[in-house]
Amino acid sequence: MMSFICFFVGYRVYEFEKSDITALAKLLISANFSVDFKGEKCEIPLYKCRKFEKIIHGKVNFKVSKPKGVLGFLFNNRKNYAAIIALSLVAFLWYFSSLFVWDIRISGNKNTESDIIQEELSLVGFSVGTMWNKTDLSRVELSLLNSSKNVAWININRVGNVAYVRVVDKYTYDNDKKEGYSNIIAMQSGIIEEISVTRGRAVVKVGDSVKKGDLLISGILSDGTFTYAEGQVLARVSDSISISTPNDVLEKEYSQEFLDRISLKILNKEINIFKIYRNLQESYDIIENENRIYAFGKELPFAIVNYKYLPFEYVNYTRSETEVAEICKKDFNDMLLQRLSQGTLLKIKTKEGYTDKGYNITADLLISENIAGELPFGYEENR
């Protein structure tokens, strides 16, 4: 394998007759010259070539290649100005692109969205496109900790041009006093199963039947003072969900796609490099195809973006019975999961079947969930 130094400083490949290897070895041993043979060939760095040729000149026959490697390439193309300029430009762009933050990847956040943390980071001067050499990561971390309401700990690591951000969310204690006064009322009708009062005075008990809007935990304490009532009230709630999927739907019928334009995307800015002007139909989808550019396994901040137009017309489509039932069941499952996101399903009774227009599913549910809802209030003191 070619050595790393040889590749960068350039080298020549010397080829000998097999019968000359022994004579050559003797010469090199006596001259204290280091060579690594690969069969009948050896690679000599450019800066050692003169000495090597001086040792072997006139004593063994050899063939020598043109200079190879990076310096060899430059030497061979020393009069090819376009190649030199292109190479210099690539080197410059490579260096230039390595100056900027390409991406910020956030992990460890459980309660706060990554977008919010990115926004907070940008407020303290660290975002995609920020220059690395003008960024003091410790200062960014400290500034964010001082300014953020969501982050308790942060660590930013640079890997290549990507910033890996690890955070720990701030924990909000339930007993943090909120400002103002509030009652807790029932958001749904149901039978109460469990009450836990953090602050305030419970006015209902387990087993009570409550209607939507009933007062559950009062913000007015028994001594006549006010507070911000807080707590959880679990109740058995009856609910029903229904979904119907029609047989006939409008579907898009696509015709031939065509290229609209090609752009060069540098960081987040686009430059149009090619565009075709033509009359467009009223309805069309745009397909954006972004091809990232890589060099030596490293992603460059450039991309070639193709925009293609895909014209379509709406046509009536009648689904088969199996198809409509499958779609309806899938939608029903999604709806049920969404409904149960805050509660526990105790009982379900479903009714489904085909109708003239499509497929219907109706379900009666019995759910155990928190029905407590805050209802803030104010008061004015008359003097």
Partner: protein, 85 residues
Amino acid sequence: MTNQEKEKIISGRNTSSYYMEVSKNGKFSVLTINGIRSVDEFSDDKTILKLSRGKVVVSGEKLRLSIYENGGVGILGIVKAVEFI
């Protein structure tokens, strides 16, 4: 004995002694011998190295030759036998 003195002996440049070291990586070996005067024969399966007194015959497969600046010679490849004659 200082390192310089050791090197003087093991290099074999000024004395008749020689120094040999073998490191193995899978089935490939690197055989380093100092104190070599010349390479008498070299092929893919056999190499004869001349010492100040006697010869070393290295036989094997896919043998490669490296010459080092201190007068040492490295034999890389699947070394099957080393014989002193």
